[in-house]
């Protein structure tokens, strides 16, 4: 295998693994902050116990997210040096601003929160977790703005053989970035809520600490319910923006081959890129794709056949990831709506509780699918329409070096993943400290 393929694999391993931990950090920080605030306001010790129990799991997850994020920042230079030279002016500055404006705060305060129970007043301690939650969210914005620039470059000019910044404001407030943020962060909140609901359901099924876990379940439910409705609506808005910025990705998502008006969406389709058609197409809903992409049932939607063959993304991967993600999104809405109606009689719904335990991995899968679709859908471009992935890697790094470190990443990350999730499961199963 060559340096390019190995570097792509390495980056995929590193990002997907990192992103197993980021959404829970985002979601759980908000939930723990809510619990601690309720403790400060009511003085009810059950909220303090909730804060500490969920906080313990939060910290295990947080640290794995942090250490895996560090390696990502450096991979642009090590493995993607030609990309780094080309976009450093813009992409690099967004990463640097993320570190100074948000990541410092989050990382400094996490130690204060974990070790500061006896050194800060109750209110100050609760304020610290809120600041962590806010800083994590701000951090996410900068990173997503950087990613969005790769998806839809704005505010630049090609000079001296690289993309140079001409309009910082345009980069930071790009519509693509805002929409991606409004999709990714609420999705992370859904994941946090499902995580808390799933573990709470496990204990409720065993009649452990019923009051404690009922309250926890409802806290997670409230966040997930609101956010899954929001993400669904937001996904629609994003569709229209995407059709404008990345027509190839939208066509790939739906397996849409011929440019046509009243473009349909199929209930099920199986794209066959080899023959430039769908092998299977079931139940078309005419005009729906036009409606999603351009807010007009009769609008024309670009088909894949009008995109040069060597500029088409891997259609099947993108399409399946997208459709499965949407199905999961709909499932989350149904689950949380049902949860809302039975929130006062959770104990009488063991089947629902059991389903919620088994649902813990689902938002993780949905988040990963979202990223696979986003990143694979951009291929073969690393910067959409500007630079191809095959021109971006460090050509001077030996394939053997990348190969060795890829094996290293897989080994270290497997151990980290096993230890991290193992410890989280163990802590979760053990339940809160006795009051």
């Amino acid at each position: 295998m060559d340096t390019l393929l190995l570097s792509r694999l390495q980056f995929a391993v590193a990002t997907l693994f990192h992103f197993l931990f980021v959404p829970l950090t985002l979601g759980l920080s908000v939930l723990v902050a809510t619990m601690e605030t309720r403790y400060v306001r009511t003085g009810n010790p059950v909220y303090l116990r909730m804060t500490k129990f969920w906080g313990k799991i939060f910290l295990i997850n947080f640290v794995v997210g942090i250490v895996t994020g560090i390696s990502l920042e450096f991979q642009f230079g090590t493995n993607w040096s030609r990309y780094s030279i080309f976009v450093g002016d813009i992409f690099g500055s967004l990463l640097a601003i993320e570190a100074t404006a948000a990541f410092f705060l989050e990382s400094t305060l996490i130690g204060v929160w974990a070790f500061g129970w006896n050194r800060l007043s109750k209110k100050a301690h609760a304020a610290v977790i809120w600041l962590i939650a806010i800083a994590s969210t701000v951090s996410a914005y900068w990173i997503l703005a950087a990613n969005s620039w790769m998806q839809h470059p704005v505010g630049y000019e090609i000079r001296n053989g690289r993309a140079e910044l001409t309009d910082f404001f345009a980069v930071v407030t790009s519509k693509f970035a805002v929409l991606q943020f409004l999709h990714t962060v609420p999705a992370a909140y859904i994941l946090g809520g499902f995580f808390v609901m799933g573990i709470s359901a496990w204990h409720l099924l065993r009649k452990n600490e019923t009051d404690f876990f009922t309250r926890s379940f409802r806290t997670g439910l409230a966040l997930s319910l609101v956010m899954s409705l929001f993400v669904f609506a937001e996904g629609h808005m994003q569709g229209a923006d995407l059709a404008e910025a990345q027509p190839a990705k939208v066509a790939a998502m739906e397996g849409h081959w011929e440019t046509s008006e009243r473009a349909p969406i199929y209930l099920f389709s199986w794209p066959d890129q080899e023959n430039q058609k769908n092998a299977i197409e079931i139940l078309p809903v005419p005009g729906l794709l036009s409606l999603l992409a351009h807010h007009d049932m009769n609008a024309s939607v670009t088909g894949l056949k009008d995109i040069p063959r060597d500029e088409q993304p891997p259609v099947l991967t993108v399409s399946l990831s997208f459709k499965l993600m949407v199905c999961l999104g709909i499932l989350f809405i149904l689950q949380t709506l049902y949860g809302f109606f039975v929130r006062n009689r959770l104990a009488e719904n063991p089947r629902f509780l059991k389903m919620m335990v088994w649902s813990i991995p689902l938002p993780y899968i949905a988040c990963s699918l979202g990223w696979i679709m986003t990143e694979m859908g951009r291929q073969p471009w690393i910067v959409y329409g500007m630079m191809k992935t095959s021109d971006a890697h460090s050509a001077t790094v030996a394939a053997s070096s990348v190969g060795i470190t890829l094996v290293g990443f897989i080994l270290v990350y497997s151990i980290l993943g096993a230890a991290g999730f193992g410890l989280m499961a163990k802590t979760a199963r053990k339940g809160p400290e006795p009051s």
Binding site: F76, F104, T108, L109, A395, A419
Partner: protein, 341 residues
């Protein structure tokens, strides 16, 4: 101000970020390396880990900031430096990964084998970055075989010259001294006495290693040219020497905080000794001076440098304020039952 002035400002800010990173993460890497030696009992080990537990994460962000600023202000340097030093950098990252999680994982289970595993990760994960950062910076000072396209002509073995290795050993010693002084200020009883003894032994060794490194730099690098051209700049190494003396003096007088602070200042001066000597190159080539990447041919556009300077001038003082607050908050050893990892 013109483009080259901005680039020069960013060159020194870049150096400052590395210096602050070494001065902050340096002591927790030092503590990590000493864990198997100074931590005789489980209680000692916990006290050592707890002394750096609240702060290591915030310290490590200075590395992220240094990396981010290299990317933003000097993209070509970021690309060529990091792809040339590929394997050492990857090893540093693996080290930092296993070290970071060991803080959190170690305390979560009771088994002796489990604790041993994470102690080993803490040790290796502290040693590797200290050693390799030293090797990397010594090589940067001496120049690296890169051609006009920024392609690296060498292997990891090219970097392991006597000068490079001496740089690595010096970094290890410098961080050990910094870490032992930190432990003096943050522990009590027998552990404190042992830390003070360790620091007393480490001090002359570290100073000697620096003297040897500086002497070898005279032959292996071009670092002295700027100092000889502008002798006033010698104030920086002089301040470093004063800081080193002050560290020993304060250690003897049992002013441990001041001793630690002096050793931090020593690290900053040592880093700036190299940074000043390097200017205006960030990544010199030892194949031909014209292949070197400098502030002139490696920097970002003027607009990016300006925006980044605005961001830095606004946020960095705020970062320093809340980090100082966190350091103050954990300046004393906590009660033994205190929560944490």
């Amino acid at each position: 101000m013109d483009h080259s002035t901005y680039a020069a400002i960013w060159f020194f800010l870049w150096g400052l970020l590395w210096a602050v990173y070494f001065a902050t993460d340096g002591f927790d890497l030092g503590v990590g390396m000493m864990l198997p030696f100074l931590g005789e009992t489980e209680e000692d080990k916990r006290a050592m880990l707890k002394s750096v537990g609240p702060l290591w994460d915030g310290n490590e962000v200075w590395l992220i900031a240094a990396g981010g600023v290299t990317f933003a202000a000097f993209p070509r340097v970021y690309a060529v430096m990091f792809s040339s030093l590929y394997l050492p950098l990857m090893l540093i990252l693996f080290g930092l990964i296993i070290r970071g999680v060991s803080f959190e994982f170690r305390e979560k289970l009771d088994g002796a084998g489990w604790k041993k595993l994470w102690d080993a990760c803490q040790f290796t994960g502290s040693l590797l970055p200290a050693l390799l950062l030293g090797v990397a910076f010594a090589n940067i000072f001496a120049g690296v075989p890169i051609d006009g396209d920024g392609a690296f002509h060498g292997t990891i073995l090219t970097l392991l010259t006597p000068y490079g290795l001496l740089g690595g050993i010096f970094f290890i010693l410098m961080f050990l001294l910094h870490g032992s002084l930190w432990l003096c200020a943050h522990t009590e009883g027998e552990l404190l006495a042992r830390s003070a003894r360790t620091a007393t032994i480490l001090w002359p060794v570290t100073v000697l290693a620096f003297a040897a490194f500086a002497a070898l730099s005279f032959f292996a690098t071009n670092l002295f040219a700027n100092f000889l051209a502008h002798p006033l700049l010698l104030a920086v190494p002089a301040l470093g020497a004063a800081a080193a003396v002050s560290a020993m003096f304060c250690l003897k007088k049992e002013f441990y905080w001041r001793a630690w602070f002096s050793s931090g200042l020593f690290i900053i001066c040592v880093t700036f000794f190299g940074i000043i000597g390097l200017f205006p190159d960030l990544f010199p080539s030892n194949m031909s001076p014209e292949f070197s990447i400098s502030t002139a041919n490696g920097s970002s556009s003027l607009l990016t440098l300006k925006i980044m300077l605005g961001v830095a001038l606004f946020f960095v003082p705020i970062v320093i304020l809340y980090q100082a607050w966190a350091y103050r908050l954990f300046s004393k050893p906590g009660p033994s039952g205190e929560e944490g990892y």
